[in-house]
Amino acid sequence: GDSVTQTEGLVTLTEGLPVMLNCTYQTIYSNPFLFWYVQHLNESPRLLLKSFTDNKRTEHQGFHATLHKSSSSFHLQKSSAQLSDSALYYCALSAYLMSNYNVLYFGSGTKLTVEP
C-alpha cells in the first residue's frame, strides 16, 4: 500500500547549519502529491510545502524541496537553520486514488531541534 518513510525521528542542529530532513514514499500511482507539514509546540500542523511536479524545486519560508519520482523522494532542506525552525515536521503523500484521493498518508514525523 501507500506509505511514507521519514528515517530520522530526531534531528539536532546548531543554528546556522544546513537542514536536511529525509522523506521517501511508496505508491503504485504515477502522479503522487507530496507535502511537508510543520507543527510547532502546542500548535496544530500547517502546510509548509507541496509539490506534484517531478524535478521541480518548490520553496516557502526559506525551506525547499524537490519531488524526485525516480527515487521516490521529497527531502526538505534549508540552507541555514534558525532557532525558530525547531518543530515537528511531517512528510505526507496523496496518491490521488479515484475513490479516496483526499487521504493523506503521513510519515512518522521528524522532530527538529535547533540549538544556539
Binding site: 479516496n100 484521493y101 510519515g107 514525523g109
Partner: protein, 111 residues
C-alpha cells in the same frame, strides 16, 4: 481564507464515559478528517468524510464513532474512554489536491 474551530479545547472524562468532540469549518471544503496524535507517535487517521452523511474508517476507527450531518461540521465520539488515556484530537478539512487544513485540537485526559 477560512478557519476550523474545535470544541472543547480541553476535555476531561471518566473511564467508560462516552465523549463527543465537535469540529466546524467555514472553508466550504467537502472532505473532513479526524486524527489522533499521541506524544511521539505522529498523526493517525480515525475517520474521514468526503461529503455530508458520508463516513469512511481510518486505521484507528475502533472505539470511535463519527457523524457528518452538515457539510460544515464533523463530530467524533469516543464510545468508551480508556483510563489514563491522553491524546490530542485534530480535525482537518481539505479542498483541491488533498491539501489539509487543521484545527487547533482538543486535548483529552481520562481519569
Amino acid at each position: 481564507g477560512g478557519i476550523i474551530t474545535q470544541t472543547p479545547k480541553f476535555l476531561i472524562g471518566q473511564e467508560g464515559q462516552k465523549l463527543t468532540l465537535k469540529c466546524q469549518q467555514n472553508f466550504n471544503h467537502d472532505t473532513m478528517y479526524w486524527y489522533r496524535q499521541d506524544s511521539g507517535k505522529g498523526l493517525r487517521l480515525i475517520y474521514y468524510s468526503i461529503t455530508e452523511n458520508d463516513l469512511q474508517k481510518g486505521d484507528l476507527s475502533e472505539g470511535y464513532d463519527a457523524s457528518r450531518e452538515k457539510k460544515s461540521s464533523f463530530s467524533l465520539t469516543v464510545t468508551s474512554a480508556q483510563k489514563n488515556e491522553m491524546a490530542v484530537f485534530l480535525c482537518a478539512s481539505s479542498g483541491t489536491y488533498a491539501e489539509q487544513f487543521f484545527g487547533p485540537g482538543t486535548r483529552l485526559t481520562v481519569l
